[in-house]
Symmetry: C2
Subunit: 258 residues, 2 copies
């Protein structure tokens, strides 16, 4: 199911020839220009991952964290005696994927690339230096991990209290909203490189039923997934069906709703 290739040091490569520039990316907009100017130069390495690559493994000590530049990445909990693992979070471009490992040292889940992905590396010792000198930056990074926590809470609510149809509608609404922030603009069509099995792992619905639910959403003129493209047919209807309210995402300007 996964490539079983836990990120060897060899896959970390220098960032040249393309340095980090576009801070106008997704949740990084929570940082001020100055803060970004301090953080970006510290990320001098890159990682490229193919689908199903395990970027970090549950329980293993981590000495760096990763900022997702491009692609989609899941936090995945493998379950004994079950063929599929459960996704407990999804990360979009502009998200720190395992910043949680900075204070905690170890993570309780795997990090897996779902699509071809590009990430920037920041070493924890470097980060310690930076944050010791800059209380404000530390506060912002803390906030970013707490937004993750807020999203976790939303997933708990969604996957415990809603039924399949609303769950998938809500999930796709979140996908739409977070992609909007990641791309910097609202679109009606997104390349959706994840499979129905991925949606199943994220929503706790079997993949067979995900297929049926997507058909229902299509017939209901909410959205349609065709040839690897998610088309938002009627955003309002989709959000209503999924009882979706984006305030838990704590969007940065100019997407702010809270």
């Amino acid at each position: 199911m996964t490539n079983e290739t836990t990120l060897p040091d060899a896959t970390l490569r220098p960032a040249s020839p393309h340095p980090l520039s576009p801070r106008q990316m997704g949740m990084m907009r929570h940082l001020s220009d100055q803060q970004w100017a301090r953080l970006a130069p510290a990320m001098t390495e890159r990682v490229t991952a193919l689908p199903d690559t395990v970027l970090s493994t549950r329980g293993k000590k981590l000495e760096y964290s990763l900022l997702l530049l491009d692609g989609l990445v899941a936090r995945s909990v493998p379950r004994a005696d079950h063929d599929r693992s459960t996704f407990v979070a999804l990360q979009f471009p502009g998200d720190f994927v395992d910043l949680h490992a900075f204070p905690l040292k170890k993570l309780d889940h795997d990090i897996v690339a779902l699509t071809p992905s590009e990430l920037a590396v920041i070493r924890h010792d470097k980060l310690t230096e930076l944050l010791n000198d800059d209380v404000e930056l530390a506060r912002v990074l803390w906030s970013l991990t707490l937004v993750d926590a807020a999203i976790h809470r939303h997933w708990v609510m969604r996957n415990s209290a809603m039924r399949a149809f609303g769950r998938v509608a809500n999930f796709l609404s979140e996908f739409d909203a977070r992609m909007t922030v990641a791309l910097g603009e609202e679109r009606d069509r997104y390349p959706l490189a994840i499979t129905q099995a991925d949606i199943a792992d994220a929503t706790g619905v079997t993949k067979v039923h995900v297929s049926r639910t997507l058909r229902d959403l299509r017939e209901d003129q909410c959205c349609a997934i065709r040839n690897g493209t998610l088309e938002i047919i009627c955003r309002d209807r989709l959000r209503k069906r999924g009882e979706f309210d984006d305030s838990y995402l704590y969007f940065p300007e100019p997407f702010k709703t809270v």
Copy 2:
């Protein structure tokens, strides 16, 4: 359902005559003695709450955070057009209940006391002072919020991927484990002041089905809830049924397993 009484300032009372002493409480054991010595004196006020009291409300700006000293408190997401709200987290004595509100300013959920509870108040301006002077303490508090996040992820897994029987078994295993840390010792009987409806809200199973599931657990010699007491009949069996592994709780010494 709830008292609808959002904590008025009037309910904050001075901590006298009993100052905070027992740092040997639950997750506060993550702090060093010195760190506790710095933090404790800053909490000069107390709150007492009856069951169903709303301690803080979703979306409202918060100027203080609360440390739970005694009782049980839930993070609750109200749902439009539904009679019950969903619990996305539970807090035990020794937990900071809304430390998330310190960096985020607003929360995305309500905080509700489930049992008669006692809490210590820490003002955010005071906390800012403290943390600006003490990078290490800031790091520890950050960690504590990330343990919350890890628990959220576990709840996502549990409530999306497990069925009613395992879900409730897992929930009660977590209850047992966290109570052990909160009390400082392992017990086979706990006063369980929460109702089956609360368990239902936390696990996403209807309360009728919770009742049946608890009967099954009793007949299976795992645990029994009688007259407000949770009796652990066979901890191993209970944990096995719930596929429970406590590593996600990041227990402090001397309970550490990670």
